[in-house]
Amino acid sequence: MDLVLLSRIQFALTIGFHYFYPPLSIGLGLVLVLMEGMYLKTRDPLYHQLTRFWVRIFGLIFAFGVGSGIVMEFEFGTNWAAYSRFVGDIFGSPLAAEGIFAFFLESGFLALLLFGWDRISERMHFFATCMVALGAHFSAIWIIVANSWMQTPTAYHIVDTAVGPRAEITSFWGAVLNPSTLDRLAHTLMGAWQAGAFFVISVAAYYLLKRQHVAFARASMKVAFVVAAVASLGQLVSGHSSAVTVYEHQPTKLAAMEGIYATGKSADLTVIGWVDEANKQVIGIKIPGLLSVLTGGSTDTVIRGLDEWPAADRPPVQLTFQTYHVMVAIGMALILLACGGGLLAWRGVLFKHRWLLWIMVVAVLLPQAANQLGWATAEVGRQPWIVYGLMRTADGVSDTVSAGNVLFSLILFTLIYVGLFVVFIALLDQKVRKGPLDSDLPRKQEARR
């Protein structure tokens, strides 16, 4: 089999599996800060119980996230050696910064978060919770910086060295704050908040369906719906501005996202559709001119079509189009679920209808799907480039590694990750069924203090 294809499949598999966990740690981290903060403010024992329970779940998620994450740190070297040599001068720094500023913070304070309950003061514990959540967010920042530079490379020049040309940095902040960093950071973080919030909502809805831990579940929901609503509405803004950045800086990606072949004004926005690649058209429900309006403010905005580029420079159209459109559809559904569900929960209606609660239980899958699909859009839409316009994916691979070796590691990764995922789900299920414990309530002397 083809080395490049195998290497790409392996990277997609390992990052896809990994990316199940970080959004949950980021989102749940934020929820934990709010819960423990509420406890310190109100002294309501319920919030103490909430924090303890969700910290246990957080610990489980974190362990799997760290395990699968360590693979990512080294996979650029193992499978993308040529890429690593070419961009290491720029791309390496954010990865190192992630270690120094994010991982140390996260893992260090996680010790206090998980095991420090009886050893440190309540305030110190809250501080540890904040630091863990902050660490998780920092880690997102540096990864988005690194990936955004691959999407919209800036602040570099190509230098000929003894062992071949490479990209060298001209301005650190220029590379960090490349044109797509901030939009994509906002979009990714809010995607993570959605994942965390809907995860909490799902478990709480399950308890309400089972008529267990009712007060606990309602309090969990209260915090989570606030986060879900803010994040879901925020995604409208960050999603829009991300798309405008793509329009400005990655025209082939935008054209693939909407299946636009012919350059022109008044481009249509497809709500749902299928790209007929042979005939270069999209079949589906369209809103005339809306794409031009959304990207440039008027129907006069010219959208460049894929025909402007030779076939070898275009990304896979159908895949980019569908991952993008399904993500957007899910995004819209999440707004409805977060705002509508939150309103119904506030009014108490949500708790009276079992079917509504069931929807909330299942809704946990949606942000996860949207996060995966969004990344697929970003990465597939960047093709055939590994660094947009600068280096082709096929040129970045480790060509000293044999296809057989990659196939071997790919099979091993697949087997192990399937096994680990089963273990994760089984343990999560067990922890959820066990539910919050009485020992999670604050101890008496602490409550008096």
């Binding site: 610990g59 362990a63 799997f64 760290v66 395990g67 360590i70 693979v71 740190e73 080294f74 650029f76 070297g77 193992t78 050696a81 040529a82 690593s84 040599r85 290491g88 001068d89 720029i90 390496g92 720094s93 990865l95 190192a96 910064a97 992630e98 270690g99 120094i100 500023f101 991982f103 140390f104 913070l105 893992s107 260090g108 304070f109 996680l110 010790a111 206090l112 998980l114 095991f115 420090g116 050893r119 230098v159 003894a162 062992v163 060298e168 940095i169 650190f172 480790s398 000293t400 590694v401 070796n405 590691s409 091993l412 192990i416 680990l420 273990v423 343990l427 067990q430 922890k431 020992s439």
Partner: protein, 341 residues
């Protein structure tokens, strides 16, 4: 500062990160290697919880070391990880498994479940230690490099007597370090048992240390060159022998923390020795020493090295500060409670 100075500083800093990793993750890898010697569920839980709050942070030293290597010496990162492909993939599997097994092992009752994860934890710890040692041995022994630093490696060629010896030396070193750590963290009967493990692991380490040193002097004379040129450097091996000799003494006197620090110092000195022998090479070219990858020819631009140094200067003191604090919070003997593993 002149340009070359940044390269030298980053050579040192990558060394510092890897030394930090060896000392810190070294003890929890060692505890993993000794894990199956603990009889009974309670003792095994004590072992796991002795490293419970720390192992994850310790592992970050490796991740950050990898990131720093990528940023400062991208060619070394690229050549090493693609050239030692299968070895590193196996190491990654071991680390994934290990982290998960520590966390999930005690989440369920049942002999089969716990037994499986006990084995997974212990085997992955030993294999990871071995692979780290093998990698170290290969870097010193050298691999055939092409003119553009490309290296087409295969696992069997990487496993030869010298690298297996360095692998076993690292396993023995971590077991010794882990045993001393456990003496510090356990009490009662278990403590008495753990104490008896210190001496054999020290002896195993010393034997491997001597063998590796002799093999290095015989086959890699270039590693001894700096010591011939600057005899003052003999202080380092001398100190390292003293540090090792000090361990049984401190254990005997019941000063476990000092024994642990002594062991940490011995490991650090061993890596300093390695660094002096290697400098300025990062990966030795066995086919032609002129093709070796060094701190100068495999590095990033001066600008990146400079930026990274600022980052490290801001970040690492903070890291060291709160890591120290967290170790203090959890000092003392292990006590199991409701939140324990």
């Amino acid at each position: 500062m002149t340009g070359e100075l940044y390269n030298i500083i980053w050579y040192l800093l990558v060394g510092v990160l890897l030394t930090g990793y060896a000392i810190l993750d070294g003890f929890d890898l060692g505890v993993g290697g000794l894990h199956l010697l603990a009889r009974g569920d309670r003792d095994r839980r004590i072992f796991l919880n002795s490293i419970g709050p720390f192992w994850d942070g310790n592992q970050v030293w490796l991740v950050t070391g990898g990131g720093a290597l990528f940023a400062a010496f991208p060619h070394v990162y690229a050549t090493a990880f693609s050239g030692f492909y299968i070895a590193f993939i196996l190491l990654l599997f071991m680390l994934v498994f290990r982290g998960v097994s520590i966390h999930v092992r005690s989440l369920r009752e049942g002999r089969a479940w716990r037994g499986f994860w006990d084995w997974a934890f212990s085997v992955s710890s030993v294999v990871a230690s071995l692979l780290i040692g093998v990698a170290l041995g290969n870097v010193a022994w050298g691999v055939p490099l092409e003119a553009d630093f490309r290296y087409q490696g295969n696992l069997l060629a990487q496993l030869h007597p010298y690298t297996v010896m360095t692998g076993l030396m690292v396993v023995a070193m971590f077991l010794m370090h882990g045993a001393i750590y456990l003496v510090m963290k356990t009490e009662g009967d278990l403590n008495a048992r753990v104490r008896t493990w210190v001496r054999p692991t020290i002896i195993a380490f010393i034997i491997m240390y001597v063998i590796v040193t002799m093999a290095t002097l015989l086959y890699l004379p270039q590693m001894a060159e700096p010591f011939r040129a600057h005899p003052l450097l003999f202080v380092v091996p001398a100190l390292s022998v003293l540090a090792i000799a000090n361990i049984p003494r401190e254990i005997h006197l019941g000063r476990e923390l000092r024994a642990f620090l002594s062991s940490s110092l011995a490991m650090a000195l061993l890596l300093v020795l390695f660094g002096i022998g290697m400098f300025p090479e990062l990966i030795h070219a066995s086919n032609d020493p002129a093709l070796s990858m060094t701190a100068f020819n495999a590095a990033s631009s001066q600008k990146t090295l400079q930026t990274m140094l600022i980052m490290a200067a801001i970040g690492m003191p903070l890291v060291v500060g709160y890591t120290f604090h967290i170790y203090r919070v959890f000092q003392g003997k292990v006590k199991l409670d409701s939140m324990s593993y």
